[in-house]
């Protein structure tokens, strides 16, 4: 546990795709910290660098320059093997396209990261998560037999099962209808409130951002707004200023 209470920090992040004329500066000097036990939404127009920021923060992609820490560990100094272990043990993911393994049951999907680390999943913890997410009667089913909302809850349970330092979610409601989307967002917020999880979520939807404690707005690879306690209205306004209708 880092003393300053930040789960994740980024300092002067620069990410350039390609070289020469075709080079794209997807992140252009981003400095930001995410406090433990807080729910942060990242917003911004399409192409503003949201996904890129998240990939870099999660150690999925290498940065061009800058520094990232998760729980005090400097990601930019790690080699692939250590980075992989870090993702496995201290980061959770929720994706837009659910990304469950089709051949595994819901329970097997949830316990997969722990098993890859060679650990048993704490049964009480698992029972608690499953209970909170309301998927107790679905654990024996394969993803193809689950609804989109159920699949996303299983994905959330998988992210929570390892008690990660931080959960990254990229458009977690993008493939869901509004009711299922609202449920998942509510659950994400419950995890933050009830379990003290740190959650960073990328979204396009101002009403999704309203579930968060804080909203960052990106434009052209920079943070242009930083809203505390965002509401639909404040977020929409900030996005408008950043250039989205």
């Amino acid at each position: 546990m880092s003393p300053d209470g930040f789960a994740v920090t980024a300092t002067d992040l620069v990410k350039v795709y390609g070289t020469g004329d075709s080079a794209v500066r997807a992140l252009d000097g981003v400095t930001v910290g995410f406090r433990r036990g807080r729910f942060t939404a990242i917003m911004g127009p399409s192409g503003s660098g949201k996904s890129t920021l998240m990939h870099c923060l999660a150690g999925l992609d290498a940065v061009t320059s800058g520094r990232i820490t998760i729980g005090g560990t400097d990601l930019t100094r790690l080699r692939d093997r250590q980075l992989t272990a870090l993702r496995r043990d201290r980061v959770g993911f929720v994706f837009q396209a659910f990304n469950l393994l089709p051949q595994l049951t819901a329970r097997q999907n949830i316990t997969l990261p722990s098993e890859m680390a060679g650990r048993r999943v704490d049964a009480d913890h698992l029972a608690h998560i499953v209970d909170v997410l309301g998927i107790g009667d679905r654990l024996g089913h394969r993803p193809a037999e689950l609804s989109g909302g159920q699949q996303q809850r299983v994905a959330l349970a998988r992210a929570l099962a390892t008690r990660p330092e931080v959960i990254f979610a990229d458009e977690p409601t993008g493939n869901l209808d509004s009711r299922s989307g609202a449920e998942v967002l509510g659950l994400l917020r419950d995890c933050v409130r009830g379990l003290g999880q740190t959650v960073v979520m990328v979204t396009h939807d101002p009403s999704a951002a309203a579930y968060a404690d804080r909203a960052l707005v990106l434009a052209d690879g920079r943070i242009v707004h930083d809203l505390d306690g965002p509401t639909r209205a404040t977020v929409t306004e900030a996005l408008g200023l950043a250039g989205v209708r």
Binding site: Q96, A97, Q103, M116
Partner: protein, 829 residues
């Protein structure tokens, strides 16, 4: 519209040429193998015609007897007196035995243009009772020039003849050891004047045609004479062609194996196209949505198959051709001369056309299935892995019918086994049983994957999540797994069958050999018993072990007379393989006898019965039958008795009449020399030679079969590699996800490698399960009298080897999967 559909599909193919190679790799290998065989046939035939000759270049005319009667001395004189003929040499050979080995003695002048041998030591024989040995025979018999040798078998019923070995030569060879002598010397030894063939040299400038006519007029005046007169050239070509014709049979056999490999390639291609089309389901559905007809899609997909077949077939042919043209050069490096294959254009085109036809045939079923895609499919984001479940009703019915067909044919075979026949019908039935059973395996394969996987995949689960994911990955796509595994199974079925058949043959010959040649060396008294010091001498010599003396005595049972031996069956390890048909060999002891099956039949005895054996001199012994053997008793005799019982029977002195021994150390030739020295005067036999020859024959049979079946296995392995590669391609997202969730690169590689290995393992298990019973059934149906064996070690080796090879085939795809960036999991198409 049709053109535009075609264009969409083909441009897709051409944009990714790597995929052509991947889908058509099996066809490429098949084309390579087929055309490679064609070229090998060309090379061997041409080389043979260029270099093979049993007739020296200098021979200008050949006179050969066509009936059984040799060319008489009178005819010989006529030939010699014919104008133009300068030299002549008789060609004949005699088969004799010398010091326990067979010797094939050939006539050769020894020097001059007609000779086929070169002297390496001593002088070439030219007097009565003189011969030369070839190097191998000299080493085996342990003789130097100047030594003498007793040769038996020159003439029917005649005594052995002692000859002087004057020299050692090198000459043409085959499996037998050879001796050489001038025609007249050989003639005198064999005691039969005349030769089956005479080679002539004519004076330079002689008109051959005129000489032939003159010879004909002279020799064929008597209408009862059957002689052929040909030129040396004609004879040389005919000899080479005969040799080539024998090879053609070999190539016909190779062709059969190549044919099976082609079937395997077609199966692999079908499976690969199915996967590739499944991956393009969304795109095909989109084409359907915007108005493409089913027929148009089928046409486009078939055209794609034709292109793949054309490209890969031509590539395979070109690679084979490059290899074939390089062969003479490569052979030249090791100092051998072979003739190049040329460029057989016709066969090359035929192979390419064949490749196209096979590929189009392979595409047919997958193309119809793919074109049947519902337009709605385009709108669903279906995962390929989730979309195949279960087995269609058609498949199920087909599978059941084929199983029934195999069962029916088994019934028929069993029925026809009772009647007399030449075995051809059974062979045909067997082929049917094999084909039906394998067809059933193809049809019902997807149903078998899960249970087999449950068994063989269990240990993999211990590897943790990577292993478990590999197992469930395969279990999740049973049709795909079945499609590739059955090809492996095809190879393994034949491998397992061959191994069972050959190991049965080995057991059979081992038993036969145990009876005929129970030890490495044998010594048999010629006149009077062996000296008392022989056995002690052998026992004292460290070069020998298992020294087992024996005596023999004649006895009569029911109708016929037999020979009993008092050999200790426990004294020679080779006798452990003897098998009792009735009773137990362990029960042998004083007052008990082991009988050969024929003797038991003659006496009408069963194990446990008491029999009375009578010697010609009138002595009798009453013995209980301990065991009846499945064949003859050791040394092909009738009964084994204890020494005391043999003495009671009478007819044998107290001293041993023979002794058997194994070689403990040193070379066989050294041991043989020592053995001969100790047993001077007795007949010596190198029993080990005979055993080795039989063993070597079976071994080379095994290796030849394994090599040829390797072609099918190779194509199956290519299939596993392709299938794994395509699976990895379509699961890029899954690989990325696993990496994102924290699976290390090594574990991802392990997972994919394990998947590939599982395809091989499942195939190997299915193949063994099919091949072993089929082989047993074949042995019975063909009445080969070969025992059933279950060579567990070799079969296990095959299974493990296949799993290992297929893991290797998965290495490239595994590396590819491990390189996938975790970001790939997050991108939405």
């Amino acid at each position: 519209m049709n053109v535009s559909v075609l264009r969409t599909q083909l441009s897709g193919v051409l944009r990714r040429p790597g995929r052509i190679l991947m889908t058509g790799l099996s066809v490429l290998v098949a084309a390579l193998v087929v055309f490679g065989t064609v070229l090998a046939h060309q090379i061997v035939t041409r080389t043979m015609l260029d270099t093979f000759s049993n007739t020296p270049e200098a021979v200008s005319l050949v006179v050969a007897s066509q009936g059984g009667t040799p060319i008489t001395p009178e005819q010989l004189t006529q030939i010699r007196d014919t104008p133009g003929v300068t030299t002549l040499a008789g060609r004949t050979s005699v088969y004799v035995t010398a010091a326990g080995i067979d010797l094939d003695v050939h006539a050769d002048p020894g020097t001059g243009p007609m000779s086929r041998v070169t002297l390496v030591a001593g002088t070439y024989p030219d007097g009565e009772r003189e011969i030369a040995l070839d190097r191998r025979a000299a080493e085996r018999i342990g003789l130097r020039p100047g030594g003498t040798l007793r040769l038996d078998g020159w003439q029917e019923g005649a005594e052995p003849v002692s000859v002087t070995v004057t020299g050692v030569v090198d000459g043409p060879q085959d499996a037998a050891e050879r001796g050489w002598a001038p025609d007249t010397v050989l003639d005198a030894l064999a005691g039969r004047p005349g030769y089956p063939r005479v080679d002539l040299i004519t004076a330079p400038g002689t008109d051959l045609d005129a000489t032939m006519t003159r010879l004909g007029e002279q020799l064929l005046r008597d209408p009862s004479v059957y002689l052929s007169i040909t030129t040396g050239e004609t004879t040389r070509v005919r000899e080479a062609t005969d040799e080539v014709r024998q090879l053609d049979q070999v190539f016909a056999l190779i062709g059969m194996f190549v044919g099976v490999a082609v079937v395997a390639a077609a199966l692999v291609a079908t499976s690969t196209f199915r996967i590739v089309f499944a991956q393009r389901m969304r795109q095909l559905a989109l084409l359907r949505t915007i108005g493409a007809q089913r027929g148009q899609l089928v046409g486009a997909l078939l055209a794609e198959g034709a292109v793949v077949g054309l490209v890969t077939g031509a590539t395979g042919v070109l690679i084979a051709l490059a290899g074939g043209l390089a062969a003479p050069v490569v052979a030249g490096w090791s100092g051998r001369t072979i003739t190049g294959p040329g460029v057989p254009v016709g066969p090359a085109i035929a192979v390419v056309i064949g490749a196209v036809l096979i590929t189009v045939g392979a595409v047919l079923a997958p193309a119809f299935a793919a074109a049947g895609v519902a337009p709605l499919q385009a709108l669903r984001s279906s995962s390929v892995a989730g979309s195949e479940r279960g087995v269609s009703a058609v498949r199920l019915v087909l599978g059941v019918l084929l199983t029934a067909c195999a069962g029916g044919l088994i019934r028929l075979t069993l029925d026809s086994m009772d009647s007399q026949g030449d075995g051809n019908r059974e062979l045909l039935y067997l082929l049917g049983v094999g084909t039906c059973a394998y067809g059933a395996l193809i049809a019902l394969g997807p149903l078998l994957i899960r249970p087999v996987l449950a068994a063989v995949g269990a240990p993999l689960r211990l590897l943790g999540p990577a292993g478990r994911l590999a197992v469930s990955g395969i279990g999740g796509t049973p049709r795909r797994a079945a499609a590739v595994s059955v090809v492996v199974a095809l190879g393994v079925t034949m491998l397992a069958g061959t191994i069972v058949g050959i190991s049965g043959m080995q057991t059979y010959t081992d038993r036969q050999m145990a009876v005929r040649t129970p030890a490495d060396l044998g010594m048999f008294a010629e006149d009077g018993p062996l000296g008392a010091d022989v056995v002690t001498g052998l026992r004292a010599d460290g070069r020998f072990t298992d020294v087992t003396p024996f005596r023999t005595a004649d006895f009569s049972g029911g109708q016929i007379s037999h020979v009993a031996i008092d050999l200790d069956p426990a004294g020679l390890p080779a006798l452990d393989v003897l098998e009792a048909e009735d009773g137990s060999l362990a029960a042998f002891g004083p007052g008990r006898a082991i009988l050969a099956d024929v003797v038991a039949a003659d006496l009408g005895a069963r194990a446990g019965d008491t029999v009375t054996l009578t010697s010609p001199a009138g002595g009798t012994v009453r013995l209980e039958v301990a065991a009846i053997l499945t064949g003859e008793a050791p040394l092909r005799l009738g009964a084994v008795l204890t020494p005391a019982d043999l003495t009671t029977l009478g007819g044998a002195g107290p001293e041993p009449t023979g002794v058997l021994a194994n070689i403990a150390s040193g070379t066989r030739n050294d041991a043989l020399a020592a053995f001969r020295a100790i047993g001077a005067g007795a007949e010596i036999a190198v029993l080990a030679d005979e055993r080795d020859k039989a063993g070597a024959e079976i071994e080379s049979l095994l290796f030849a079969a394994l090599g040829l079946l390797g072609l099918t296995v190779l194509i199956a392995v290519v299939g596993v590699g392709t299938t794994t590669g395509l699976s990895v391609m379509e699961r890029t997202r899954e690989s990325g996800l696993l990496r994102a969730l924290g699976m290390s690169r090594g574990k991802v590689r392990l997972m994919i490698g394990a998947e590939a290995g599982l395809y091989g393992l499942i195939g190997a298990v299915l193949g063994t399960a099919l091949g072993v019973p089929l082989a047993w059934f074949a042995l019975d149906a063909l009445r080969l009298d070969i025992p059933w064996t279950f060579p567990a070690g070799r079969l296990l080796l095959i299974i493990v080897a296949l799993a290992a090879i297929t893991v290797l085939a998965g290495i490239v795809p595994a590396r590819r999967a491990a390189r996938v960036s975790p970001v790939a999991a997050l991108s939405v198409d």
